[in-house]
Symmetry: C2
Subunit: 119 residues, 2 copies
Amino acid sequence: MATGSRCAACRQLRKRCTSDCIFLPYFPPNDPQRFAVVHKIFGANNASKMLKQVEEYKRGDVAESLYYEAQCRVEDPVYGCVGIITLLQQEIYNFESQLAKIEAQIQLLKAQGVATPSH
Amino acid sequence: MATGSRCAACRQLRKRCTSDCIFLPYFPPNDPQRFAVVHKIFGANNASKMLKQVEEYKRGDVAESLYYEAQCRVEDPVYGCVGIITLLQQEIYNFESQLAKIEAQIQLLKAQGVATPSH
């Protein structure tokens, strides 16, 4: 295969890219950063194992989620995407409190609505 | 250092564990699974780099979030903890819809409350 068509992984790892390369469909040469960040966080060997262990039709999602996780870890070296989970859980907690307050407000309005006509 | 006091990482990697071992404070020998799962997903070298690149007082949180992420990836090899983020975002979306409906309900109740006394 010509050098120009090597995938981003084989380019970075300076390897020959064969047609059965596990990275080829998910790490195109025009987006070297995508592989670089996955390589930095998970390592090429681990990423390759994680791709290979699932059925082929799921590998696009594996590559995408590995890239997302790796990107999060680069942006937040302490918490990675666990930091996002914590934020979202906090947001859900806030929604729950907000809903509880509003439910109480509705009960009050309903009670007033029931009481009003008899005055 | 005696074999018995090697950290979980040095035990698994069959290395000598020195008092300045980067893994020692965060991967105690009594929880070998904790290091095993981080090693499986990130690799010992990457995990070591990620611990070393932050200040010492943040390393406990790095180890904890790496363990959480790795555990998620073992449980869900396709989406890892990105699957949890997607679920939480869906939950937040549902809360938002629920709140919008309830707000509309309140407006209705208020309008009825205002209208009722004049009848």
